[in-house]
């Protein structure tokens, strides 16, 4: 990388941090542009995160301080204009914790809103939080705006119902089947919720912390004392 | 005909001891055994050739060894023998849900089809089992028996993959027989006979008298015939009936051991038959490429075998170079390209003959 290009990148990144994205987007050379964008991502990561209360978030939305907010704050601000009482518990700068009830509508909004446009579901995983709670986590990503966010939905182990987003992101079809397979989280509205990795007649949800191996499987006794190979 | 010669010879030798019925039977059996021996030896050689040619194409050494023992002999020469032995010694499995009589019948039928074609193949001026006056027609006719046995094998195995293989081979072989036959009509038109020996005699007198160089349309006919023949014997790029990455092994999926070996053997035998027809029809058969040079009857056998061998080599070469066509593309090529081309050839040759040779 020559020094000229380095200087150019430093310059446009500084401008972008101030809120003006045009210089970056106007770079002709694709390699340089992507380098600049990468540098921008890096610069944003090391910026101090500023605590903003919800009122100033809304106020700030129109102003040019977008880049100073974390994406989580932007998402919460944007969502709170359209949904009420969707947040679940205390929030954090690394993820957004929401309630299960209107997850489908929220997901639809996240996917279709022009400013957010999370068109890609990167990953869905379940986590056993113990104390009778399960959690489903969604890592969303926008191919258009190149930002990513993590959504968490907590449900009780007695009634683990979460609306399925399989019809929004088709990739969720298999992701949700896998989470169902491993944790027993019931994705309501899923068109084909079956086990995917384990046999259809498997008992229990293996990745829950309280999982007990079955005594027998198809009449074969499962050895309890494992020697040598484990 | 050869049978008559042998009969006369045997009558002279043993006429006093045995009745003529027995001698006739014996004189028929002797050429059969000779052909069977020839096919077996030829198959071993061509299997070895296939292994070695593919190895050189694929940048590897192929079967190698330093001597008899655990290795496959000098240069791997014993490899085809080992392969044949392995197939012979394998357990003969018939699936319980297979149609037993048909399942057993299929490999024999395909072998019979290949075997009886050899009857009319001229190896030399006087070395032919039966010098039929419709030799070319006969070979085309009995060659179609293969398709029956492939369908039989596909159906009798009671396996979906086999069924697919059988259906594909039926469609493919029946379609490709048409351009192959039409291309051979060019040869018949020029030579004016269906007798293979007469066709070869028509091409006497050096390389430029061969039918392939007769006029500009015949090379096209030769190419059409050769590609159609490839399709008829199920070789890549037309090996759809047994395409291993799609249909597991096609019609042969459920066959093992000796029965599988029969499919294998008849594939190679059919390769020889179609190559020999091409050599006889287009490349002068047992005629020497240069008039008067190495043209004794013994050299005739050499020329015939080497021309056929070269065409077999080309088949092996193509197999290890080209990917496989899809089933609809296969049909497209046949009906939309080869069939019109073959018909145009017939007209072209007819007009050429009238204009230039009259």
């Amino acid at each position: 990388m020559s020094e000229d290009i380095q200087l150019l990148i430093d310059d446009v990144v500084a401008k972008a941090l101030a809120g003006d994205m045009d210089p970056i987007n106007n770079i002709e050379d694709r390699v340089t542009r992507s380098k600049a964008k990468a540098a921008l991502v890096k610069a944003k990561r090391f910026q101090p995160q500023i605590e903003v209360d919800s009122k100033s978030v809304q106020a700030a939305e129109k102003s040019d301080t977008e880049s100073k907010q974390t994406i989580e704050q932007i998402v919460i601000a944007s969502l709170s204009k359209n949904f009420s009482d969707f947040l679940d518990g205390e929030q954090n700068n690394d993820w957004v914790q929401i309630k299960a009830e209107n997850w489908f509508d929220i997901a639809k909004y996240l996917k279709t809103n022009e400013d957010l446009y999370f068109d890609s579901l990167q990953c869905n995983t379940g986590v056993d939080l113990e104390q009778g709670m399960l959690e489903s986590r969604y890592n969303l990503h926008s191919m258009k705006h190149l930002h990513a966010i993590e959504i968490r939905i907590k449900v009780s182990i007695e009634k683990p119902d979460i609306p399925s987003v399989e019809s929004l992101w088709r990739v969720a079809d298999w992701f949700e089947r896998e989470t169902y397979d491993m944790f027993g989280i019931n994705f309501t509205g899923h068109r084909d919720l079956r086990r995917i990795l384990l046999p259809e007649d498997w008992d229990g949800w293996p990745l829950r912390k309280n999982y007990e191996e079955q005594e027998t499987y198809h009449g074969i006794v499962v050895p309890k004392v494992k020697e040598g190979w484990e | 005909m050869t049978v008559d010669y042998i009969f006369d010879f045997l009558t002279g030798l043993l006429g006093g001891f045995l009745g003529s019925d027995y001698l006739l039977l014996a004189s028929m059996l002797i050429p059969c055994l000779a052909i069977f021996g020839f096919i077996t030896v030829y198959a071993l050689i061509v299997i070895y050739a296939e292994l070695k040619v593919s190895s050189f194409i694929q940048d590897k050494v192929g079967p190698m060894g330093q001597g008899v023992g655990l290795h496959a002999g000098k240069w791997g020469l014993l490899q085809p023998v080992a392969d044949a032995l392995k197939l012979l010694l394998k357990e003969d499995i018939i699936p319980s849900s297979a149609d037993r009589p048909l399942f057993i019948l299929a490999p024999f039928m395909i072998f019979i089809g290949a075997f009886i074609s050899f009857v009319a193949i001229p190896f030399g001026e006087s070395i032919i089992v039966a010098d039929l006056n419709i030799g070319l027609f006969y070979i085309l006719g009995v060659g179609s028996i293969a398709v029956l046995s492939l369908i039989l094998a596909g159906w009798a195995s009671n396996n979906k993959w086999s069924l697919y293989g059988g259906m594909r081979s039926a469609a493919q072989i029946v379609s490709y027989e048409i351009p192959a036959g039409l291309s051979l009509i060019v040869v018949i038109m020029l030579a004016g006979t269906l007798n293979l020996q007469d066709i070869i005699k028509y091409q006497e007198g050096g390389i430029f008298n061969w039918i392939i160089f007769d006029n500009p349309f015949v090379p096209i006919a030769f190419v059409v015939y050769f590609i159609s023949a490839l399709a008829e014997v199920n070789r890549t790029p037309f090996d759809l009936p047994e395409s291993e990455s799609e249909l597991v092994a096609g019609f042969a999926t459920e066959y093992s051991g000796m029965r599988y070996a029969f499919f294998f053997l008849s594939e190679y035998a059919n390769m020889f038959v179609v190559s020999a027809v091409a050599a006889a029809g287009f490349l002068g058969g047992w005629q020497s490429p240069f008039a008067g040079f190495m043209s004794t009857p013994a050299w005739g056998v050499f020329w015939m075998i080497s021309k056929t061998g070269f065409l077999i080599f080309v088949m092996i070469w193509l197999r290890w170079t080209l990917p496989r066509l899809r089933v609809d593309q296969l049909m497209n090529v046949c009906w939309k390209v080869f069939l019109p081309l073959a018909l145009i050839n017939i007209f072209g040759v007819a007009i050429w003959t009238v204009v230039f040779n009259s």
Binding site: R30, A38, Q122, T125, R170 | S243, E246, V327
Partner: protein
């Protein structure tokens, strides 16, 4: 499977079938040669990777990651150690970073060679496959020289590497690259421009960009659909921002953008780019630096979670690690790129002929070890 009509037949492709690249069962509904519906059944190779990880320490997870994608073990290691290092905030020195990049890119070449070769094999072209395996073998020799293993390396450790580069590795690698670069053109001519191959792949199994994104398809399959998305550029990890390379995307040279031929061609082009990266990394390789320098005595990440993505030869390889502060992960999820690539099969391959479906499956380059985990 739904209703089977009178003309239709239900057929199981696999679990043992030459074209499924492992143990995968595709239940298909066929009408003659046309396949109308494909239902994949997974799990024949499920080895409880995630359950195992909850019972072993962080460093013991690395050999398991090897075994997930056995054709790209180096990048599997790479993705995992990057994730744990991010979680623990470890900075590794430059030499380690360069060696990791060299290994990952060599692995990418090896994996793509196998992928394109096997794709040819699915179409009946046996010879290109063996030519590619011959060159892959030389890369495997380089790995063997480095860490003694030929397939499952366990080479990258959290905060470092298991061994430094052996003597003569740099020369051997440069020798290999000099030998290998002309071969790429050879492969392209041998397979890519073969008329029958083009007929079999161009305009077959077209994956439009929206479908690819919606189904979470990543890596070469996504780029073949015309989207310039590569984590090495778009979200650079390790030191990929120091290198100059292009991201090849599908251009529909022989057919439509996003067809099987594009997927093949993008992989071939990526081999060229990887060669470029390896050359640059060798040029810049620092002479000194201890590969064990920043390895922690005890890997005990702070409480928290991380989702870290890296670019494996098959696409975005994500590791989701939830740490409870102990030395075993409380939850470890691998987001497998081949898993999502297989998910799109029914969408893009339904309605095609049987031969095409198996060609499309081959063009997606799936590894069952990674799908089933």
């Amino acid at each position: 499977m739904g209703v089977v009509h009178g003309q239709e037949m239900v057929l199981n492709i696999g679990p043992q079938h030459p074209a499924t690249h492992g143990v995968l069962r595709l239940q298909v509904k066929t009408d003659g040669e046309v396949i109308s519906e494909i239902t994949p059944y997974l799990g024949y190779l499920h080895r409880c990777f995630e359950k195992h990880c909850e019972n072993v320490t962080y460093e013991q997870v690395i050999p398991f990651t090897d075994r997930c994608d056995y054709l790209a073990s180096m990048t599997m290691n790479f993705g995992y150690v990057v994730a744990v290092e991010k979680l623990m905030d470890i900075k590794v020195n430059d030499r380690v970073q360069h060696i990791r990049v060299i290994m990952a890119e060599l692995q990418r070449i090896a994996s793509h060679l196998l992928a394109t070769g096997v794709f040819g094999l699915d179409l009946g072209a046996f010879t290109p496959f063996l030519h590619m395996l011959r060159d892959r073998e030389r890369i495997i020799d380089l790995f063997e020289m480095t860490c003694g293993a030929r397939l499952l390396y366990n080479y990258m450790w959290v905060g470092g590497l298991s061994h430094d580069l052996p003597k003569g590795f740099v020369e051997a690698t440069l020798n290999f690259l000099d030998y290998f670069e002309p071969k790429i053109d050879e492969f392209e001519n041998l397979l890519g421009h073969n008329k029958i191959f083009v007929e079999r792949t161009a305009d077959i199994g077209i994956m439009p960009a929206e479908v690819a994104i919606n189904f979470g398809v990543t890596g070469p399959n996504l780029r073949a659909s015309g989207i310039k998305w590569d984590l090495r550029k778009d979200d650079p990890y390790s030191i990929y921002d120091k290198f100059d390379f292009d991201i090849p995307v599908g251009q529909g040279i022989k057919g439509t953008i996003g067809d099987s031929w594009d997927r093949f061609y993008v992989r071939l082009q990526e081999i060229r780019e990887s060669v470029k990266i390896v050359r640059q990394a060798i040029d810049q390789l620092p002479k000194d630096g201890d590969v064990h320098q920043s390895m922690p005595k005890k890997i005990r990440p702070p409480k928290g979670s991380i989702y870290s993505r890296t670019e494996s030869p098959r696409g975005d390889l994500g590791y989701y690690i939830e740490s409870d502060g102990s030395d075993t992960p409380s939850r470890l999820k691998m987001r497998s790129p081949a898993f999502t690539a297989l998910g799109v099969l029914d969408e893009i391959a339904g309605g095609w002929l049987m031969s095409d479906v198996l060609a499309i499956l081959g063009s997606l380059d799936i590894v069952l070890g990674e799908i089933d985990r």
